[in-house]
């Protein structure tokens, strides 16, 4: 079986199996999968979409993004706004138009930017259009002025941090510190129903599979060959007539849209979106998932996101204060001993797959290079 077919098969197969074991077995059965587990899996797969989007820019055009959670969170907020409007008069204050937090903060009317979010189609359009516009403006400015490397990473981090601070403010109109929560239903389906949770997992698995196949098609095309050339020898591409900034911009916007789709799927499954999702640490975690799974492979980020988050769930349940140290240690171990990630250990490449990034130089090699130049 081809590696790509296997990836889609596993993503879809495991998700469907969980759904079958949730709906088709009694709670007392030893093979029963709880609804909690179903939504946990849905959350992991949403994160896998984020990881895939990070890998597309980091693994294939060499942009180490430390701000991708911003696009994920924006997609999540758009979904959250739709879900808030669906609550209608069932909120604590029973206001048919205004969400509870607005009543509480003495809003007299719905802010203009909330208009239209009661329509699912419009909300989903905004979930991808707003992050796409932000990414396009940011990318246009950054890539045109040839900002690269660590400077670019730092401004991506600044981007998500700025959004974090903005969304924390109550007068931004997005629920401030508490964010958006207490959702009731999505397209008329109750979010507390098992079947809805199962449906969401399957939809997330389908979205992940389609985005994976899209990323695969892009990276294996001639465009993808240019991506690799830009990743490994950006300035050289200019001398044969390519404009790397154009390529980076296209990939960057595509990647932001992917991350946003992940965020929109994440919110109904976890039941809340708050400014914490913009935290710089979230973007850094996403990079670690990619590194663990294998940068520059497309199945790697999916594997990495699922495994690391599974570990996080277990560890934060047992020893919450240890998690950050464990994550840091994991990152160090992977960089030092597993530079190609888990998938780098397995020969699962297909003919026509784009070449992997070179192993990062060891500290000694970097120092030697520094000394020469």
């Amino acid at each position: 079986m081809k590696a790509s077919a296997l990836t889609v098969f596993l993503v879809m197969g495991i998700s469907v199996l969980m759904v079958v074991l949730n709906l088709g077995t009694a709670a007392s059965s030893p093979v029963h999968v709880s609804t909690f587990m179903v939504s946990l899996a849905g959350k992991y797969l949403s994160y896998a979409i984020l990881a895939l989007s990070v890998d597309l820019v980091w693994g294939f055009v060499g942009i180490l993004t430390l701000g991708h959670a911003a696009f994920f969170a924006l997609g999540g907020y758009a979904m959250g706004m739709y879900l808030m409007r669906q609550i209608g008069a069932r909120g604590v204050y029973a206001n048919p138009i205004l969400p509870d937090f607005m009543v509480f903060l003495n809003y007299k009317e719905l802010p203009w930017f909330w208009y239209g979010f009661n329509w699912f189609g419009f909300a989903m359009l905004m979930a991808v259009v707003v992050p796409a516009i932000l990414a396009a403006v940011f990318g246009y400015l950054a890539f045109r002025s040839r900002v690269t490397g660590v400077y670019l990473s730092i401004i991506t981090q600044a981007l998500t941090y700025a959004l974090l601070l903005a969304f924390f403010r109550n007068d931004m109109g997005f629920g401030g510190n508490n964010g958006l929560t207490d959702f009731k239903e999505l397209l008329g389906f109750s979010l507390s129903a098992e079947t809805t949770r199962c449906g969401l997992l399957v939809v997330t698995a389908i979205a992940l599979s389609l985005l994976y196949l899209l990323a695969r098609a892009v990276t294996r095309s001639r465009f993808g060959k240019v991506m690799i050339a830009v990743r490994d020898a950006e300035s050289r591409t200019r001398f044969i007539g390519y404009r790397p900034e154009q390529y980076k911009l296209v990939v960057w916007v595509l990647s932001a849209v992917m991350a946003a789709i992940g965020g929109a799927l994440y919110v109904p499954q976890v039941g809340i979106i708050n400014p914490g999702e913009f935290a710089p640490a979230n973007s850094i975690e996403a990079v670690i998932w990619v590194a663990v799974g294998g940068r520059g492979t497309l199945a790697g980020p999916i594997l990495g996101a699922v495994l690391v988050n599974f570990g996080k769930t277990i560890l934060t349940g047992a020893l919450p204060e240890v998690w950050l140290f464990a994550l840091g240690a994991l990152f160090i171990v992977v960089t030092l001993f597993l530079p190609r990630g888990l998938l780098g250990l397995m020969p699962v490449r297909e003919k026509g797959d784009p070449p992997l990034p070179a192993d990062p130089p060891t500290p000694a090699e970097s120092a030697a290079k520094e000394a020469v130049s």
């Binding site: 095309s221 001639r222 690799i228 050339a229 200019r238 001398f239 154009q246 070449p355 070179a358």
Partner: protein
Amino acid sequence: MSSMSNGTLLYLDNVSVTFDGFRALNALSLVLTPGEMRAVIGPNGAGKTTMMDVITGKTRPNTGDVLFGGSTDLTRLDEPAIAGLGIGRKFQKPTVFEPHTVWDNLLLALAGDRGPRFTLFAKETAEERRKIESILETTRLTDQRNRRSGDLSHGQKQWLEIGMLLAQEPQLLLVDEPVAGMTDSETEQTAVLLREINKTRSVVVVEHDMGFVRALGVKVTVLHEGSVLSEGSIDHVSEDPRVVEVYLGR
């Protein structure tokens, strides 16, 4: 523009480049006629590579004119735009896209649309395959077509880079030290190849290897400390006492 620039392919006049107070190019002037091949020699640090950097848009000159085809001001264009005009460059240190195969390197270099919209949907055409195969033959890389280019020998990388130049179908080729690291027979073959290329295109070759420059049999420009020291046939310049003093006599 100056009337001097008529009937010239490349026209550099009074070009100066300063790096932190150091003059890498000092009032350099050079005129290349269409179809010409020119060899440029000079000691290390003479400014040969810097001259190519100026022509290809990598370095902006502090002063001077750089015109292509009589009227296009190259100092106002960036690297992709200059490449698009038909100026191709081979670097001193061979720089191919190492993780890509030999074939893909040539495919990426083939003349054609460079925009993302085109490359996203581009399918390899029979015409493209034919061109790549012919370049593989010319550069003797047919057997290496599926190899990762980073794994090629130094000489093969040099040839691949020349092949990438050919694939771009440029009007003007700038070739920086093409035979560095090549065996004697590879060097000879390279001279033959460049003369062949020169039948249809203009070429500027920078080289230290005197035997190679002699084999090219073309007009030679000697650079020293960023300016032209001497110009003429290889015999003429090698007898020029100033050249002997700064370069050949050392």
